[in-house]
């Protein structure tokens, strides 16, 4: 297992390196530069001084080597170009915390409600509770999130005036965005859970348990739930990475200082260091989440672990 993990971490670093390299050169090759947001053609001298100050006057290759060196030796992702003086690392940490909190709230609600609904639906397969639950769950993901968010905002903050329109800092600010965000997870988990439970129900060991006279409640809790919940772990992994990345739409509509909206802005502003920093952060999160998922899955399902060890 240790060897396997070391190997995986090695791959992970390689993956990150490739992503950094690709992003770096791609971003520098597209038209526009960090001064474009001024919407004004500046005099050459001014541009020159600016490029020099931020090292943009050097060949891309030199910038790349310098960037890598700073990243490896100091863990420094550089300084934002759009927001002069702000460290990219600090900015990412600050904003991902916000996205993380919101995402975590949404995912916890999503998983809890989703799993319960999924199990109930499966146990009543093709009966009305199943139809009702699946219909409601699916309905939540059939409407684009910007519509849900707009409607929530209009109803609760303009019509009923019980929740704030935008902002961040208090619990009340998180309520609407959390609800809007959790719709998606509820449906995903409910659906996954339902099919997993259905799969487990048909397994022989359930029949055996029934034959042995285990109470239906215990069958559900001890056998069905336990086995059905395992595959859910595989989809939680990427979603945990996703909670820190934040939702651009939700953050924009509810004025939340998360990383999602920041990312899009930085692409539009050609804030090279921010884009690369954020991309690296996203990729790292994803890769780590993947690793953890795989390890967890390996622990949980011996068959997979064996096949991985075979390598």
């Amino acid at each position: 297992m240790t060897r396997y993990i070391i190997k995986r971490v090695g791959y992970m670093l390689l993956t990150l390196f490739i992503i950094i390299t690709i992003t770096f050169f791609l971003m520098h090759s597209i038209p526009g530069d960090p001064l474009a947001h001024m919407a004004k053609n500046l005099p050459e001298q001014i541009k020159e001084n600016y490029y020099k100050k931020y090292g943009l006057d050097q060949p891309v290759m030199v910038q790349y080597v310098k960037f890598l060196k700073n990243l490896i030796t100091e863990g420094d992702l550089g300084q934002s170009l759009r927001y002069p003086g702000r460290s990219v690392t600090d900015t990412i940490l600050e904003h991902s915390k916000v996205s993380g909190r919101l995402g975590a709230q949404a995912i916890i609600i999503g998983i809890t409600i989703g799993i319960i609904l999924g199990v109930v639906a499966a146990l009543f397969r093709n009966k009305w509770p199943d139809y009702l639950i699946m219909f409601i769950a699916i309905l939540g993901v059939t409407v684009p999130i910007f519509i849900i968010a707009s409607i929530l905002q209009y109803s609760f903050s303009v019509k009923f005036k019980i929740l704030p329109t935008t902002g961040w800092g208090k619990v009340k600010h998180t309520i609407l965005p959390t609800i809007a965000l959790s719709f998606g997870s509820i449906a995903t988990y409910a659906r996954y859970m339902r099919s997993n439970v259905l799969e487990v129900i048909n397994q022989d060991y359930i029949l055996t348990a029934q034959a042995k006279g285990v109470s239906p409640f215990n069958i559900v809790i001890k056998h069905i739930l336990r086995n059905a919940i395992l595959p859910v772990i595989t989809i939680i992994g990427p979603e945990i990475a996703g909670i820190f990345t934040g939702s651009f739409v939700i953050e924009r509509i509810f004025g939340i200082p998360g990383l999602g909206s920041y990312y899009i802005t930085s692409i539009n502003d050609r804030d090279y260091t921010m884009i690369i920093g954020t991309t690296v952060f996203y990729a790292a999160l994803f890769v780590v989440a993947q690793l953890i998922t795989d390890i967890l899955y390996g622990i949980v399902d011996p068959r997979i672990r064996v096949s991985e060890k075979d390598e």
Partner: protein, 306 residues
């Protein structure tokens, strides 16, 4: 007490040929799938609605007598009426024609996207699992890299690099990393199946590899694949919606449900019908695809065969 006369009995031979006969009519896997799907009312209803929607995206734009891009400054933002069944938009265009025209783009994006993902993903995942070992490792590393590049970055970069917003570009940017999930899933499923007892049994009985793949692996993978397609189609339609919202949607005059919905979102309090129709179409398509997918999943699952 009545006695049974001996004449009523007759000796018969044991017919050894009949011993293997199956009383129920033998039906193939696919016939069975269809039979089971038919009995699922929800799935059939979804299928019918879907067929109607697809049919309407083909002929709908010609029904109202208005061209979807025809601007009429004299009737801006009008409610649904006899002339304009779904009302008009901010440029006085007929929403009925627009909704169906937009549906074409959305449907094409959804279906093509899902099919590309499914085909590429299955082949990739299948190869990876089949060869195993080093090939598998390398192939999975590549997937890992692709999958960890933020999706939005890919889309934005593609649209910037190719300098276009055509349907083709959108398909490329949406599917470029979209198939990775399918590939992983197929690989996982294949690996799991490979170690199943019945495969082992089949192998031990000397069934040819091709037959194993056709008879056992494909149906089993197909089942998850179809579920994933049923997720993917609305997924792609949704991604397109999101891209439209952030302004990276399809190039005008072409339009999509996402583009219509995000255009209407700004003023939905004033003109709810402008948002309602595209949103309804998105929702209906998502809903029916998902329900049909669920139905197919149940019908396709060999373990649920009756």
């Amino acid at each position: 007490m009545e006695t049974i006369s001996k004449e009523k009995f007759r000796r018969i031979q044991i017919d050894y040929k009949e011993s293997e006969k199956i009383a129920r009519p033998q039906i193939g896997y696919w016939q069975d799938v269809w039979r089971r799907l038919k009995s699922n009312k929800v799935a059939i209803l979804s299928l019918i609605i879907l067929v109607i929607i697809v049919f309407m995206t083909i002929i709908g734009p010609y029904l109202s007598g208005y061209d979807f891009k025809e601007i009429d400054s004299a009737k801006i933002n009008q409610r649904p009426s006899k002339e304009n069944w779904f009302g008009t938009d901010e440029l006085g265009r007929d929403i009925f024609a627009r909704v169906w025209k937009a549906g074409r783009v959305s449907m094409v994006i959804g279906i093509t996207g899902a099919l590309i993902s499914a085909v590429v993903g299955t082949m990739y995942g299948g190869f990876s699992a089949y060869f195993g070992g080093r090939v598998d490792t390398i192939m999975m590393r590549i997937v890992e890299i692709l999958i960890s590049v933020p999706y939005l970055l890919v889309v934005i970069l593609i649209s910037i690099i190719t300098d276009s917003r055509s349907l083709g570009t959108m398909m490329i940017s949406l599917t470029l990393t979209g198939w990775c999930g399918t590939a992983r899933m197929v690989r996982g499923q294949m690996l799991q199946l490979k170690s199943q007892e019945y495969i082992l049994a089949a192998e031990a009985l000397g069934v040819k590899p091709l037959k194993i793949i056709m008879k056992h692996l494909i149906p089993n993978v197909l089942n998850v694949l179809i579920v994933s397609i049923s997720f993917d189609i609305p997924g792609y339609i949704f991604s397109e919606t999101f891209l439209s919202y952030i302004g990276l949607g399809i190039q005008p005059p072409n339009t999509s449900w996402g583009a219509l919905a995000s255009a209407a979102q700004r003023n939905f309090i004033f003109y709810p019908y402008q948002l309602f129709f595209p949103a309804l179409m998105i929702a209906l398509t998502m809903l029916t695809f998902t329900l049909l997918g669920d139905g197919l999943r149940d019908a396709l699952d060999p373990r649920l065969r009756e």
